[in-house]
Assembly symmetry: C2
Homo-oligomer: 320 residues x 2
């Protein structure tokens, strides 16, 4: 079974880690959101790509889920002392990566070439692809005006009230090399339990990717895992965003949201948490089959177990 | 007595530190070489300016003379691990400064504005000025072709044989704000025991500065301190450069070299080490008065004592 995972954020990286521990390198490709990417101090910073790669490389900070383990903060402390902007906490090790990535981009290498190069050094077996080598920038429409994503997310700590999102550059962006081919060959596309609005939607905002996810082989399954559990999230502002947009945060509404992106449905199947079993009926009404299990990933075993559930659910659906 | 010091490198920073401990803030200005400055990883790095400022701020690494005390090396280790260029050892704290300086330059601030801003935060009382806000780049002519200064100095560890130097941009560069006024008002200009070829010459390669040093008030003294002691240096490639250019490395030849820059002399007086007393006669022949003392600065007291000697020597010469 060929699997592609669409991921962004810490929740996405955790499930990707579980999938990687269940599947061979040949059978899993991860397509990562780059709508969060931004330039800071002249450096290209790719938070979601790095979170996925740090996690797969086994060097992620287990306490935060983002950034590196055994990180130090000397550079950002000096920046703060010198009166510079310290709101984006750049770790020293993390900085080394941003410096080298920016240098390589300046030499003309693409983000996906750089991602492959880093993956090789980190001995990441599974293929990790940025959604595009072109710039796509998530813009948050809010009661404070339009905010670049990191301004909203980190600088303003998600405090502004969200009124919508825009993915600058997405309409014209080509998927990164390998993305379309991999989606076409996939038996299973996993929509990770990432923030629908700012982690998954930017990926689907690229027309080529959206079409490849929706159209492809009729046999193919597109399985989402709800990031909303009991009306809330483990981490991040997804539930707050639903509320501010006038939508009740619920697993069913996540499924419905994904359907609305294409206008013709997106998920074939949806995995919701045990505690949300009551939502099964509403999801059925959307024409989406449901699987109920524990979706909370606290430990590495939780990641492996949930990924295993996703895979076995898909195998049954695919008749494998 | 108004004093201006021209400085670059570790030897220069040490004497500047001694001068700062002998003179009030109103009486000392330091003009620093920026010919070593370069862009690396997209960051503006100003080694001599930082060495002088770190030293005056009391945060320099006492073991190396350059870089910061209690430095860590996480970022550059990651860069090396990712296959990037690790030859220029960027410390994490040092990186913080380069990041903030580069960010401020991008906002349109000048190097001298940024230097003043940093000096304020570091509580450096004495005025430190870059020689120019414009780019001047020291190029080393060598048996391996033309090398950017840091390529020669750090990457190639001064191994290529030097055939000459070129200061790209110097002819057209304006001195930084305050430089000419300060030189004009100076009673004493101190040419620090820095490398003549690559620390002092770039400063004098700027026509406005060269003219201000040479022409000014007839009463003014221009006192050099020999970086060559017993045909050798405490640190750095100055003696090697003299040899490769076919000139015997000696205190007298340093004095003669400075004279040759203007064609009409430069130093009024020269301070040489006790161990080089025998050279006094040759220096006298150049029409330069000599003062002999211990010029080796191992301890902070050595710096203070040598600077004190320079000041007292000048006071006698000026009849103060």
């Amino acid at each position: 079974m060929k699997v592609v995972a669409l991921a962004g954020g810490v929740g996405g990286a955790k499930l990707v880690d579980g999938l990687a521990k269940n599947l061979s390198a040949a059978d899993l490709t991860v397509i990562v959101n780059t709508g969060d990417d931004f330039d800071h101090f002249g450096l290209r910073i790719c938070p979601d790509l790095d979170t996925v790669c740090y996690t797969l490389a086994g060097i992620a900070n287990p306490a935060t889920g983002w950034g590196r383990a055994d990180e130090t903060w000397q550079a950002i402390e000096v920046i703060g002392k010198m009166g510079g902007p310290g709101w984006f906490r750049l770790g020293d090790k993390d900085l080394g990566l941003h410096l080298e990535r920016t240098r390589l981009l300046e030499t003309g290498k693409t983000l996906s070439e750089i991602c492959r190069h880093f993956s090789t050094i980190w001995e990441i077996d599974h293929r990790v692809l940025p959604m595009s080598d072109e710039r796509v920038a998530t813009v948050v429409h809010s009661n404070e005006g339009d905010l670049p994503f990191q301004d909203y997310f980190v600088k303003r700590r998600c405090e502004p009230t969200v009124t919508g999102f825009y993915f600058e550059g997405a309409d014209a962006a080509f998927p990164a090399p390998g993305v379309l081919e991999t989606l076409k060959e996939a038996d299973l596309i996993v929509i990770c339990p990432s923030n629908p609005w700012v982690s998954i939607d930017p990926i689907l905002a690229i027309p080529g990717i959206r079409n490849a996810v929706v159209e492809g082989d009729q046999r193919k399954r597109v399985i989402g895992i709800s990031p909303i559990i009991q009306g809330s999230t483990i981490k991040g502002p997804a539930a707050k965003m639903f509320l501010e947009l006038g939508i009740e945060p619920s697993a069913a509404n996540v499924a419905e949201h994904y359907g609305s992106i294409t206008g013709a449905g997106l998920l074939s199947d949806f995995i919701i948490d045990d505690s949300d079993a009551v939502e099964q009926a509403s999801i059925d009404e959307l024409g989406i089959s449901t699987h109920i299990t524990n979706t909370i990933m606290k430990t590495e075993n939780d990641r492996i177990n949930l990924a295993g559930e996703v895979i076995r659910f898909a195998e049954v659906l695919l008749g494998l």
